[in-house]
Symmetry: C2
Subunit: 116 residues, 2 copies
């Protein structure tokens, strides 16, 4: 019996997000309640060049680590470029949008609290 869940991230199904307003975005639910994670979930996003998540807000935070590629994070008035090895914390209720401005697939981890 395995004492840990252990997979390569590419073994986890690449899914279309349920949310509206995305372009060329897919994600892998690497660790979630299915694995027994009750407090927070680890997802890996893959966004193709020119793709983006919606400009939106919600009442939970994001903890993000950029694995590969380049992009910008925007709110309604500002934007900031980011690249590999960058860390971003988006607080609850902050407007935010991730855009792939590079020439390669943008890959990042985005962790969220598990909702009741």
């Amino acid at each position: 019996m395995k004492f840990v869940k252990h997979v390569h991230h590419t073994e986890v199904k690449l899914e279309d997000p349920a949310e509206q307003g995305v372009k060329d975005v897919q994600l892998r639910w690497l660790i979630s309640k299915k694995a027994g994670a009750e407090n927070f979930a680890m997802r890996l996003f893959e966004i193709k060049p020119g793709g983006y998540t919606p400009l939106h807000q919600h009442d939970w935070e994001h903890e993000v680590f950029i694995l590969e590629g380049n992009g910008v994070i925007k709110n309604k008035t500002n934007k900031e470029a980011f690249g590999e090895g960058d860390v971003l914390f988006v607080p609850s209720m902050e407007w935010h949008q991730f855009v792939n401005t590079g020439k390669e697939t943008l890959k990042f981890l985005c962790l969220i609290p598990c909702k009741e």
Copy 2:
């Protein structure tokens, strides 16, 4: 005003862990309560070749993503090799130890719930 915390991970201080029983282990607290993260914290561990964390257990889980290097995760009876791009979930109260069995620094993200 910045709408997100945004740093390169190498800008975050590399610290010695408080815990006993570690060898050649340092960590960076990338996102923690200081940044406003109330639910879970993102740390980046750097373990030199031959280094290890203690074989221990505790009442919180780990969500781990291997960024660079190779190693094994052990409990009292088993061990499993891991490498770059691997994902590990260590449930609460599972015995575990991370060992760098490679020739380069092992770097991984390890997220934990924030304790009360």
